[in-house]
C-alpha cells in the first residue's frame, strides 16, 4: 500500500494560505514547593507567588500558550511531585502543561500522565540513567518527554551540564548531552542558563541558538527574561521555539497580553 502514495498525494491541495503558521510560545513556569508556587533568584532566596492552580488558570486565560510546573525541591528531598496537584491542575486548565521535578521512573511518569499531565520533564535522573529517555519515549511517545537541562558557561567558554537544581557540576557539555537525549527520544528541550537565570538581563542567546538550529526538536529557552525586548531577541537571534519565564509574570512586571502584542508588532508570530 505504501507505494500507492505518490507525489501527487504529497503535493495535493492549495498553496499555503494560513496566516502565520506555527507560533512561538510563551510559557510561564510555576515552581512548586509544598503545593505553592515559588521562584528563587539563581535558585536561592525563594519567595511565595501563590496557588499554582489559580495562578495557572489565570495565565491560561491571559493567553499563555503552555504552562510548566516544576517541583523544585523534589529531587533534593527525594519527594515525588504530587499527583493530586496535577489532577487539580488538569481539571481546571484548558491548555497543555508539563510537570517536572524528581521524576525518575516510567512509573512516576505513568502516574502523572494518568492524572492529566500532557508532558513530563526529566533532568538529573535522565542524565544519570539515559536509558530512561528511551523507555519513556517508547512507552508514552517522544511528544510528552521534555528533557530539562540546567547549564552554565564556565571560564573556558564551554557550556556544562549541571544536576540537582544547579548544585552539581558535571563534565558533560550541554550540546553533547542534548543531542544524545534527542537521539534517545526526548521530544523537546527545556534549556535553562544558570548564568542568566534570575538576572533579568536577557536569555542566553548563543547556546539556545546552537541547540535550536542543530537539533530537530523544539527548544524552550529559560533564564534571564526581564524585558519584552529579551523575548524578541530569544526568538529572532536565539531561534528559540518557546520562551519560559517565572517571576516577571508572577510579580506582574510583564503581562502576557502586552508581551504578545509587543511581539506581534515586532513581526513574531504569536497566538493572540
Amino acid at each position: 500500500m505504501k507505494e500507492l502514495i505518490n507525489d501527487s498525494a504529497r503535493l495535493s491541495g492549495s498553496p499555503l494560505r494560513g496566516r502565520g503558521g506555527l507560533t512561538k510560545r510563551i510559557i510561564p513556569c510555576l515552581d512548586i514547593k509544598d503545593g505553592r508556587t515559588v521562584k528563587g533568584v539563581n535558585f536561592e532566596n525563594i519567595r511565595d507567588a501563590g496557588d499554582p492552580v489559580e495562578l495557572g488558570a489565570l495565565y491560561a486565560q491571559q493567553g499563555a500558550d503552555e504552562l510548566v510546573f516544576l517541583d523544585i525541591t523534589a529531587t533534593v528531598e527525594k519527594r515525588k511531585t504530587l499527583s493530586q496537584l496535577v489532577n487539580r491542575i488538569a481539571h481546571k486548565i484548558n491548555i497543555p502543561f508539563t510537570v517536572g521535578g524528581g521524576i525518575g521512573s516510567v512509573e512516576d511518569v505513568s502516574v502523572l500522565l494518568q492524572n492529566g499531565a500532557d508532558k513530563i520533564s526529566v533532568n538529573t535522573a535522565a542524565f544519570k540513567n539515559p536509558l530512561l529517555l528511551n523507555q519513556l519515549s517508547k512507552e508514552f511517545g517522544s511528544q510528552c518527554v521534555v528533557l530539562a537541562i540546567d547549564t552554565k558557561q564556565e571560564e573556558d567558554g564551554e557550556w556544562y551540564v549541571y544536576l540537582n537544581g544547579g548544585r552539581t557540576k558535571t563534565e558533560a557539555k550541554c550540546f553533547d548531552w542534548a543531542k544524545e537525549a534527542v537521539d534517545r527520544g526526548a521530544g523537546e528541550i527545556l534549556l535553562t542558563s544558570m548564568n542568566n537565570d534570575g538576572t533579568k538581563k536577557g536569555f542566553a542567546l548563543d547556546i539556545t541558538r546552537t541547540l535550536s538550529t542543530n537539533l530537530p526538536v523544539p527548544v524552550i529557552a529559560s533564564g534571564g527574561g526581564g524585558t519584552m525586548e529579551h523575548f524578541t531577541d530569544v526568538f529572532e537571534q536565539g531561534k528559540a521555539d518557546a520562551a519560559l519565564a517565572a517571576s516577571i509574570f508572577h510579580f506582574k512586571e510583564i503581562a502576557i497580553p502586552g508581551l504578545k502584542g509587543y511581539l506581534r508588532d515586532k513581526g513574531i508570530v504569536v497566538r493572540l
Binding site: R10, K92, Q143
Partner: protein, 200 residues
Amino acid sequence: MVLKIVKYNAGNIQSVLFALERIGVEAEVTDDVEELQTADKVIFPGVGEASTAMEYLKARKLDQVIKELKQPVLGVCLGMQLMCAYSEENDTTCLGIFEEQVLRFESNGSQLKVPQMGWNTIYDLKSPLMKNVREDSYCYFVHSYYASLGEHTIATTDYTKPFSAALNKGNFYGVQFHTEKSADVGEQILKNFIEIQPKP
C-alpha cells in the same frame, strides 16, 4: 445524552474527560461493544503510535465496531488518523472511514521540526463542527504525521504544506489538533460536536 469515549491503549483519554467536564458534559470510557453501539455519541481519542493502536483495536474487534457506528463520532489526533485509509507510521492499514492518507512530515533539518508542536491556525472552515469558530483560530497540535487534503477536509492548517486539520464524512468527524487542550476554541468545537444531531 449518552456520550462514550473509546477505551484503548492510547493516551489523553483523561484530558478529554476533564475537558468535557469543564463544558458540563458527562462521559464514560468503555471498550464494551454494546455500550459503544448504543451511545448517542462517541469520542475516539488518541495519542500514540498507529500500528500498536490498530492491533489493539483489531484484537478486540473494535475496528469493525467503530467503522459501523451510525451516531456522530469524533476522532481526536491519532483517533482521526486511524479513521483514515492508511498511515505511513509503521505502514499501517487503518479503518478507512476517510479516504485520506496519513503521511509523515519530512524533516529538513532544523528548518522543519518534527513533530509539529504548538499553536497553529485552522482555516477554510466548513461543517457544523466549526460553528462559531472564527477563520484562522488557533488550535494546539502535537503530531509527526498528517492527513492529506481531500474531499472530506473541513479545516486546513499549514505546516510547510496545507493538510487536513479536520475531516467529516457523514456521521464521522475527526480533528488533528487537541480540542481538549485548545483553550476556548477547543471547547467551542467540543460543544459543537455535542450539539450535532444524529441523522434520523
